[in-house]
């Protein structure tokens, strides 16, 4: 099976940097295709949760702008005006591997690759695809964050997983630790940055010489490693310059150093909210424009507070109307609502950070019990400054391919993609009810 050429940010970054680290001035607010009319950048935040929903209690009964929120969407009531519910879309891939087929279809547009050594994605996930377009001038092209586990569903290519940061305090240190300079406070440049860059130069030399001796597969792996080192060096170079002068940016309060488990259960809500607070300020400070925040991974068996079994087990084994599965979905929607709260609380000129963002909330399947790939749960909030419809329930009447909606999302970030997906899954049009006139 031939693998399709990958869209990665490698080419984009190499083109920009000409292969060497250069001290770019921050081009923030420069004319860029993917900025809002007011000059604020568009941001993309993926909010993922595992194991689906209960479609009958999820889908709103009415369509259009005056839709009534369903039972499972009640926690989002306060954001109704900025929230679009997409229903009736289907991941059109063979469901060969429960949970993974749907996740791969939704986030890469394609089906799983059944290579000899196991399943693999064929292409990068949309967080990296969007970051290749809008993440080239920020400290981080994109940030992957996991709440319950480190397996955010994020790949730069086959066998190239991007693991998520799971420790809120560690994320705080990375974003707002000693190298951070508050635009209002000034502060000195960290003197160690230059030495750290010299070390990375030596490492890049080793990587380059080693790469020339490798076969194709190992070369691809080492290129990914090299990309990571270049990202890091670029980040250090930018940290030696003045930070962008952004009114909404300031160093947030540090989260607790530890958020310990209680009775053997992870504190999902406290951890997710700590992460959301950091996400909001990372976006407000333009440290990144792309977030992949995973509440819990596909197939996760995380124990929710008060649940009698792990989430995945419950979806299969709970009887009746599955009240515990329902409660888990409500708990996740509570956390999504909190993320929207903190984004909407950041004022940015003509609107809020949420208005300048697109938050895409999704899961890898709909009904967990049977791994359904129709009725894929998909929520969009913020609208990316008017690019996509907000405050509506838009429904596909004919089980259309979810790739149509994903293509609309990618085009909202001015990616000039003619198609999305490949072979049997390819689409060349967006999901029209979603696209603002």
């Amino acid at each position: 099976m031939t693998r399709r050429p990958l869209v990665t940010r490698r080419g984009v970054l190499r083109g920009l940097l000409g292969g060497t680290a250069v001290g770019l001035t921050l081009p923030w607010l420069e004319a860029h295709a993917s900025t809002c009319g007011s000059g604020f950048p568009r941001r993309f935040a993926l909010f993922f949760w595992g194991n689906g929903n209960l479609p009958d209690r999820w889908t709103p009964a009415t369509e259009g702008p005056d839709y009534e929120l369903s039972e499972q969407l009640q926690p989002l009531a306060r954001h109704r005006a900025k929230l679009t519910v997409c229903t009736g879309l289907e991941a059109k891939v063979p469901n060969v591997s429960p949970h993974w087929s749907g996740a791969v279809a939704l986030l890469t547009g394609q089906d799983l690759d059944g290579a000899d050594e196991g399943w693999s994605v064929r292409a990068p996930t949309i967080d990296h695809v969007i970051a290749a377009e809008i993440g080239t001038t920020t400290l981080y092209p994109s940030l992957q964050i996991g709440v319950a586990d480190d397996q955010t569903f994020s790949y730069t290519g086959p066998n190239q997983p991007s693991y998520g940061e799971t420790d809120p305090y560690a994320l705080y240190e990375r974003l707002f630790g000693s190298t951070f300079r508050d635009p209002d406070e000034g502060g000195a440049v960290d003197p160690s940055l230059g030495f750290r860059r010299s070390v990375l130069d030596a490492v890049l030399g080793d990587l380059g010489r080693l790469e020339s001796r490798l076969g194709a597969e190992d070369r691809a792996r080492l290129e990914a490693h090299t990309d990571g080192v270049r990202d890091l060096e670029q980040r250090l170079a930018r940290l030696q310059e003045d930070p962008p002068d952004l009114a909404a940016c300031s160093r947030p309060d540090a989260p607790p150093r530890e958020i310990p488990d209680i009775d053997g259960r992870i504190q999902l809500s406290a951890r997710c909210r700590a992460m959301s607070d950091l996400v909001a300020m990372a976006l407000a400070c333009d440290q990144t424009r792309v977030i992949n925040l995973s509440h819990h991974k596909a197939l996760s068996n995380v124990l929710f507070p008060n649940a009698t079994d792990g989430h995945h087990n419950l979806t299969h084994n709970e009887g009746g109307e599955q009240p515990e599965v329902h409660d888990a979905t409500l708990a996740v929607m509570d956390e999504l609502a909190y993320l929207l709260d903190v984004l909407d609380a950041v004022d940015e000129g003509d609107g809020t950070l949420l208005d300048h963002s697109l938050v895409m909330a999704c899961s890898e399947i709909s009904e967990g019990r049977t791994h359904r790939l129709d009725e894929m749960p998909l929520l969009l909030a913020g609208g990316a400054c008017g690019k996509l419809v907000v405050g509506s329930h838009v429904r596909s009447q004919g089980n259309e391919n979810v790739n149509h909606a994903v293509l609309s999302i990618l085009r909202a970030f001015d990616l000039s993609l003619a198609t999305w997906g490949a072979d049997d899954t390819v689409v060349d049009t967006g999901f029209s009810p979603l696209e603002a006139g």
Partner: protein, 532 residues
């Protein structure tokens, strides 16, 4: 690739033995006189690879370079899983951007500790000033060889000495070491085991590295590297002598423990999520203690040259007071672990809290999960993934179906389910006398547990009989040989004649682990690599 995506791999040995009624596989030698050993079949070279250090290997390597007693970084790139091993995923997965950042953090975390502990007496030569580059070079030659597991080229040395000199000139000599040590530890030559070979075979230092990680779970020490550099490993005799020395070395314990940790996924015991209300024995220290029991048994069986299949049948074990309480035994020692005779209802790893807990849910056992473990890890048989679109829910326990066996009846009667569940569940049901943390029980929800069953034609009465049936299973010797091979080389055997040959030698030695390791490490297949 993350472990979940690779959760069920088509293992090389297909499920041919299952359900075929093949009871002729009787080639089970027990205590027979040594058979004549076949010579090694022609070696098919394995793939040339970069293998990123697993977290455990990174820590062992950092200790070797910087000295014992340092705290290790709390978070590195997570270990993946391929073919059942983190060590195999390490030959496939790319490093993430976050992983790069974490390696950078880790390098400074370690370098700062080393400098705080003092460089005098540790560095071979401590430069007094930034101009003393020849002294710095002398030190870097030694440190570089330990970190990169081979001598540095003069160009590589010059870059590092230059880095040290630049920083030392701008600041002070100690600060120069901070950044130079960081450069050593962030280099791909430290982070990857480079196994590219020359002329179709591993170089002497590459071979030394592969053998050392296999037998000691650590990078090659100064003596082994010196032997490689001196050409002592260029002959089969030289290599065999070295392997024999290493097999007699106490560090073999660490090598066996590292393999078994990966093989049985014992790292999961760090974070067991058992419901403490249902399982009063569940405690954050139970998982690590349970792991220690299994590792001590495996290392003891291996280094005392017992039949390594006793992993499944041994009445000897090693417990601390916490495990003794779980097993209702008198603790052999008040603190730490001591050797014990297990009670009659418990034999080998299938009676260990480690394996039993890892392959259970947080609130109950899993016959399917335990059966899957036996099929895939112990017998190398593939089990298909469940179909996506079936309702997999089990009925709630009630008076008519109180036990798990009763409730699983659906799985075994519905043809959509039974095609796979007949492969796994009857094995797991044989272990139902142990609950989700491994505590003995005879009754579930008021009904007697029936642990009897059948494994590929061998009937068993209970868990003890199940362990014996697995130990005698004809798939075991080739499977265990293959498991070690994948772990050691990061890839399946390029030719299965190699596995068969290893299995024959393993069987011929009456299943002595050291003989298997000796055969493998001294084989031509072990050092043959394709040109990249």
């Amino acid at each position: 690739m993350d472990s979940a995506l690779r959760s069920l791999l088509p293992l090389a040995l297909a499920l041919a033995v299952v359900g075929c009624g093949d009871d002729s596989a009787s080639g089970e030698p027990t205590g027979a006189a040594p058979v004549e050993l076949a010579p090694e079949p022609a070696a098919t070279p394995g793939p040339a690879h970069l293998r990123r250090l697993t977290t455990a290997q990174y820590e062992a390597s950092a200790r070797f370079v910087l000295g014992d007693g340092l705290s290790m970084p709390s978070t590195l790139e997570p270990d993946g899983e391929a073919l059942g091993f983190a060590s195999a995923a390490a030959a496939i997965d790319a490093l993430s951007a976050l992983g790069v950042e974490r390696y950078e953090d880790a390098s400074y975390f370690l370098a700062d500790q080393r400098i705080a502990a003092g460089l005098d007496g540790w560095l071979p030569c401590v430069p007094a000033s930034a101009s003393d580059t020849s002294c710095a070079s002398e030190s870097l030659e030694v440190l570089g060889q330990r970190a990169w597991r081979r001598p540095l080229t003069s160009d590589e040395l010059a870059v590092l000495v230059g880095l040290w000199g630049d920083v030392a000139t701008a600041t002070d000599p100690d600060t120069g070491w901070r950044y130079t040590l960081a450069a050593l530890l962030q280099s791909p030559h430290f982070l990857y085991r480079v196994e590219l070979g020359e002329g179709g075979v591993l170089t002497a230092t590459e071979w030394a590295t592969r053998v050392s990680f296999l037998l000691f779970a650590a990078p090659p020490d100064d003596a082994l590297l010196a032997a490689a550099v001196a050409g002592e490993l260029d002959t089969a005799e030289g290599r065999a002598t070295k392997v024999d020395e290493m097999l007699a070395d106490g560090r073999l314990d660490a090598g066996i423990r590292a393999f078994v940790t990966e093989w049985f996924h014992l790292e999961k015991l760090d974070a067991l999520d058992k419901d403490p209300l249902l399982f009063p024995h569940a405690h954050p220290e139970l998982g690590p203690a349970a792991r220690e029991e299994t590792l001590q048994l495996a290392a003891w069986l291996g280094t005392s040259d017992r039949d390594w299949r006793e992993l499944l049948t041994s009445s000897v074990s090693f417990v601390d007071p916490r495990l003794a309480a779980l097993y209702e035994l008198q603790a052999p020692v008040l603190d730490g672990f001591g050797q014990v005779q297990l009670p009659d209802e418990r034999r080998g790893i299938l009676g260990h809290a480690s394996v039993l807990s890892v392959h259970s849910h947080s609130t109950r056992t899993s016959a399917t999960g335990r059966g899957l473990f036996v099929r895939t890890a112990l017998l190398c048989q593939a089990v298909p993934e469940p179909p996506a679109d079936v309702d997999t829910s089990l009925p709630e326990p009630d008076t008519t179906s109180p036990t798990l066996r009763d409730r699983l009846t659906t799985h075994l009667e519905d043809p959509t389910c039974s095609v796979c569940h007949l492969i796994t569940d009857p094995i797991g049901l044989g272990l139902e006398n142990y609950d989700a943390v491994g505590r003995w029980r005879e009754i579930e929800k008021g009904a007697n547990i029936d642990p009897s069953g059948e494994l590929d034609g061998s009937a068993f009465d209970d868990a003890i009989g199940l362990g014996e049936a697995i130990a005698e299973h004809p798939s075991l010797p080739p499977c265990w040989s293959e498991r070690w091979w994948v772990y050691a080389t990061g890839a399946p055997p390029a030719a299965y004649v190699t596995t068969d040959w290893l299995a024959e030698r393993f069987t011929g030695s009456e299943h002595r682990l050291r003989e298997l390791l000796r055969t493998m490490a001294t084989s031509e297949a072990f050092r043959a690599v394709e040109a990249p």
